[in-house]
Every structure is written in C-alpha cells, then in structure tokens.
C-alpha cells in the first residue's frame, strides 16, 4: 500500500506536488471539513435531511479530485461531497440537495459532476458509459467513479469493472474503503484480502493506497487518469481509509464498533499529517491556519445562505421536471386542484 507521508508527517518518498500545491490541497481539506461540521450541525437543527459525514476521508476525496481536469466526469455517492466540490460542484448545490431540494442536483453548465448516487452500486457503470462516449468522441476526457467498500459486493460492480476492461474505457474506479458498509465490516464483506486485488479478475490494474495521505492519493489517481487519457484503459484504486463519524446522522456506530479503533484512526487524520509536514518544513503558521478556518467558514456560510434562500419549490416544478415536455397525464394531474 502506497504511502508518501506517514501519519506523523514524515515524507517517506518523493512528493508529486510542490509545497504550494500541498498548501492548496490542505486548504481544500480544511474547507471540506468545515462543510462536514456545518452539515452535521445543521442536521441536528433540522435544517438538513439525514447527512453522511466524510470526516477522515478528506484526503481520498480531495486528492482524487485534484488529479482531474475541470471537464472530466465524476460519478460519486452521497458521501462524496468533498470530491464533488473539488471537481467543481458548488457547496450551495450540495447543501440544497441535503435540504431536500432537487435543484441541488443541478450543477452549473460545464461542471461534469453527476448528482450523488444514493443507490449503492448502480452508478459505477455510468462512469463506464460516460468514458466510453468520450473515448468515441476522442475528447480526451476521462470519467472517475467513487464508491465504497460495500458497493463492491453488488453485481453492478462486477458488470461495471468488466465492461470498462472489455471496452478499455478511460474510467477510474476509486473505492474509498472506509472499513464499513453501514455496520458490516470490510473483513466480512469479502474474503478477498484487498479490494484492489479484485481488479485482476477483469484483467485490470488494481492498486491500493493510503487513503489518508492526500499526496499518495493524488499521485495514484493521477497515474490512473494518465493511463486512461492515453488509451491505457481503466484502473481500480482502493483508497484505504476510515469513516470517523456514523454512517449517517441516523446511525449509531456504538452498535458495531469500538471507540478504540476510531481513536486509532483519528491519529491518522489526513489533515493533521499535512500540518505536521508543514511544521517540520517550517512552513506552518497559526495565522495561516486560522485564516483558512475563517475563509472556509465564510464560504460555507455563504453556500448555506444561498441554498436556504432558494424559494420553496412549487408543485408545478415537480411535474415539469419529469420530461423535456410535460406529458398529457401530468398536465391533467397538475390541473386537478387539491382533490
């Protein structure tokens, strides 16, 4: 398993990024965590529907997104807010989605990030089709799909992996192995030692990487993206990480795991190790740290304000959203005044 920066911040191998680039990634992780914290708080206040925290997975998501071009495709899940945002999907859309507003699923034109997949498994093969289309149009675009360890148990994982390999589509499969499918631990999900190892069944390269090491994730995904862009076909990447929070705000991890393991993983926090690295290199200042915090808080607050300022969606919108042109039955049903 590839690591470039160990939990204590020591660099164990050549870094693919300049210090400035590292600072940007760190700043992004700080901003992502601010969003995560804010969302949890808002959910408690009843301002959001259930929320799936990604705390602990910031490096996997920010590092992966940083390896993409602005117009590459991304198909992720309910837990990939950081990844989606770094790929261009506005925080305000993400917040709106969680307030229960379909308009959240509508990122700006030019942002090729699909709204989060709520079903487990089905969306991976979409990234095969997206990449397939780009391959045919020779646009050079690739498609990255992100999913969890649990998703690899679905038949759709198998079909997606196989199609990508058979047609050699420029698809990057990013599995964030965060240890659990809700309460079901990775060790019980499959007897395969690693998830990366499953790639061999499809004649596809598979690599595992320390998912809490933003530099290692960036490098690994960059290599896969490069392979895809240059016609080398798909890659499966297993980013080994851990879900620090509950599955969602509706979940109680106490029922299936011990605080000790979680504590252990807290010590491998993806932000802390980068901060230590900066400290070692004498590149850290508390002032800068606070600056990032305030800037992030401001941006998230602005996004929340924007999302919450969206007018109450109307009944009519619900009908008109269904087809390019509203159908006769929908028009009739819309017409039926209450009752």
């Amino acid at each position: 398993m590839r690591t470039l920066i160990s939990p204590d911040g020591t660099v164990t191998d050549r870094l693919p990024l300049t210090l400035d680039q590292m600072k940007d990634l760190y700043a992004d992780m700080v901003e992502a965590r601010a969003y995560d914290r804010k969302s949890i708080a808002m959910q408690k206040q009843g301002r959001l529907a259930t929320y799936a925290s990604f705390e602990g997975q910031e490096a996997a998501q920010i590092g992966a997104a940083a390896a993409l071009e602005r117009d590459d495709w991304v198909a992720g899940t309910y837990r990939d807010a950081a990844l989606m945002w770094r790929a261009g999907y506005p925080w305000s859309n993400l917040v709106a989605g969680r307030t229960g507003d379909e308009r959240g699923g509508q990122p700006p034109e030019g942002v090729n990030v699909l709204p989060p997949s709520i079903t487990v498994g089905g969306h991976m093969v979409h990234a095969v089709g997206l990449a397939w289309a780009e391959m045919l149009s020779e646009s050079g675009r690739v498609a990255l799909t992100s999913f969890g360890d649990g998703a690899t148990s679905e038949g759709d994982f198998h079909e997606a992996m196989n199609f990508a390999a058979v047609y050699q589509t420029p698809t990057v499969f990013l599995c964030q192995n965060n240890g659990f499918a809700i309460s079901y631990p990775r060790a019980e999900q499959t007897r395969s030692e690693t998830i990366a190892g499953k790639a061999a069944a499809y004649g596809m390269p598979g690599v595992d990487v320390d998912g809490n090491d933003v530099a290692a994730v960036f490098l690994t995904v960059s290599e896969a993206v490069e392979r895809a862009r240059s016609g080398g076909g798909p890659t499966l990447i297993e980013a080994v990480t851990y879900r620090i929070g509950p599955h969602t705000t509706a979940d109680d991890p106490g029922r299936y795991r011990t605080e000790d393991t979680t504590e252990e993983w807290r010590r491998r926090d993806p932000l802390i190790r980068i901060r230590r690295l900066f400290e070692e290199a004498g590149e850290w200042s508390d002032g800068w740290g606070e600056e990032l915090e305030t800037r992030s808080a401001e941006r998230i607050e602005a996004a929340v304000a924007e999302a919450e300022s969206l007018p109450q969606p109307t009944r009519s919108e619900m009908f008109h959203r269904m087809y390019a042109e509203i159908t006769a039955p929908l028009l009739e049903q819309l017409g039926e005044s209450d009752g």
């Binding site: 709520i118 079903t119 809700i182 309460s183 079901y184 999900q189 499959t190 299936y256 619900m318 009908f319």
Partner: protein, 325 residues
Amino acid sequence: MAEMNLAQAVNDGLDAALGADDRVVLLGEDIGRTGGVFRITDGLLEKYGPRRVYDTPVAESGIVGAAFGMAIAGMRPVVEMQFMGFSYPAYDQVINHVARIRNRSNGRFTAPMVIRIPFGGGIGAAEHHSESLEAIYAHIPGIKVVVPSTPYDAKGLLLAAIEDPDPVVFLEPIRSYRAVKEEVPGIYYTVDIGPVRVERAGTDLTLISWGAMMKETRSTAGALEAEGISVEVIDLHTLSPLDSNGILRSVNKTGRAVVIHEAPRTGGFGGEIAAVIQERALYSLQAPVLRVTGPDTIFPLKRSESHYLPSVEQITAAARKTLES
C-alpha cells in the same frame, strides 16, 4: 397483551417465528448487529445467534437468490430489503425464480419464503427511500403481496406469510412504523392472507386503501361520519391474491367508492380495483370510482413531499364528488 407500534409488532412476529420454527432464518443488510436501519430485527441476533440471523453483503439479488435456495432446501428464510427503492436489483430473482419454481417444477420444488420490504414516503427521506411501487409486485404471478396497516395485522399477517407454502412479499409502511400503538397479543397468532379487512362498516361510501395511506383514509372517514355520512373503510391488506368479492360486497352496498394510494396514478394498483368494481358492479355504481393517488412523478425530496402525498383534503374532496353524483 402489550401495546406495540407496527415496528415492534413486526419484531415481535419475527421473534415468535424464530422461536416456533427452527427452519426460520433472517437475512439482510445490517439486520444483525444494528437490528436493521429501522431496528425491526432489534435484539434477534443476540437472542437467536448467528446461525439464525445473518448480516449480509450489500447485494440484494444475492440475498433473495440465496434465501430462495435455502427455501427450496426446506428452510423458511425471511429476508429484509432495506428500502423498496433498493429491492429492484432483486426483482429478477423474485419474478424469474422465486415466483416460478413451483410452476417450473410442477410442484416438486417450492419456495416458502418472505421478502420484507419497507415502503412509502412521508418521512422526508433521501431519494429512493420513499418508493411505493407495490403494483410491480402485485402483477407477478406466483407470489403473494401483503400490506399491513396496523400493529395487530402486521404480526398476524407476518406469521401467516412465514407459514405460507408460497413466497410472500411483505410490504411494511415506513410512515406507520411508529405512528400508533395498539394492543398486540404476545402469543403466536396469524391473520388470514386474502380477505379484505373491513375496518369500519358504513352504507353511503366505500373508501379503499392500504399501508400508510390508511391513516389519511381513516381521518377522512371520521370527518365525514361527523357530518352524518356513513363510510365503509376497507383496508385491502392483501394486494395479491385480490379479494374482489370482499370489495364488491361493500360497493354493492354503498354504490360509491374511492381508492386511495400514494403510488403514482398511472399503472398503480388502484386502477385494478376500479376496473374490477366497474366490471362486476357497474349497475350498482352511483358514481365513478375515483382514485386519489400520488401523481405520475418521482417521489420528491423533503421540501416537496407535501406536493406529492395525497392529503385528507384531497380524499375528502373526492369523496364529496362521489357522493354528489
């Protein structure tokens, strides 16, 4: 007798089944350690152990297909789909295998199993968590489709479903899980699959519904009664096999009927009921059978939920329209 809500009643029914019959095993995602996302299987792993209650990988087709094999080999598996919106990956197993093995083998092999599926909206859940596509199950020959709306029924119908020699899709109305409590016998008992449940007798109008929409249906009936209108309320509680005679008995008496469901209108099961009524009771109909349903849209997210779910007002309006004809 203890007071239980519907969720507790299902849990109690599973407990009773596990206790009474060694062939009963439970399979599903997160049903063990956590007791399931709705806590319906809470405590059962602890009580019956890992050879009776299985946490499974996230693989609905695998869950149903494996349970199907177990059933053929003589067990009585009860599987849980986490939400109806996540049951579709198993649809092929249900329609092509579970529903067909008795026919395919001319009775030599059978699949006595239960597929529990929480369904319906109203809790402001995420996308796919509010589905009400009972019609796609009720149309499958070879299975039975049961939908309790009360705690008493939930336990009794579940035990009947587990005893049934044929596969049963058991739909659990999410919105009703913790809505109301009622007395539920602690003992093992069954409620017949098939016959409609006439919840309230009346002479002027028949309201027909199932699952969570029974709540709004009851409120409507109550309000109309207060105005002196005598309403008969039918809880269908078995969609397949459909008890046409039970419905006709009521409509022949009242001459008026409204069917209520939250599934999208077009192709919803309400159409079947209206069709049967006009087919066999046209001449006793004083008014068209009206349907109060969800629209032909996707069940919306939290902020638009109220735009989707049929309301007491809509049911009342339809009832009045029917009564005025």
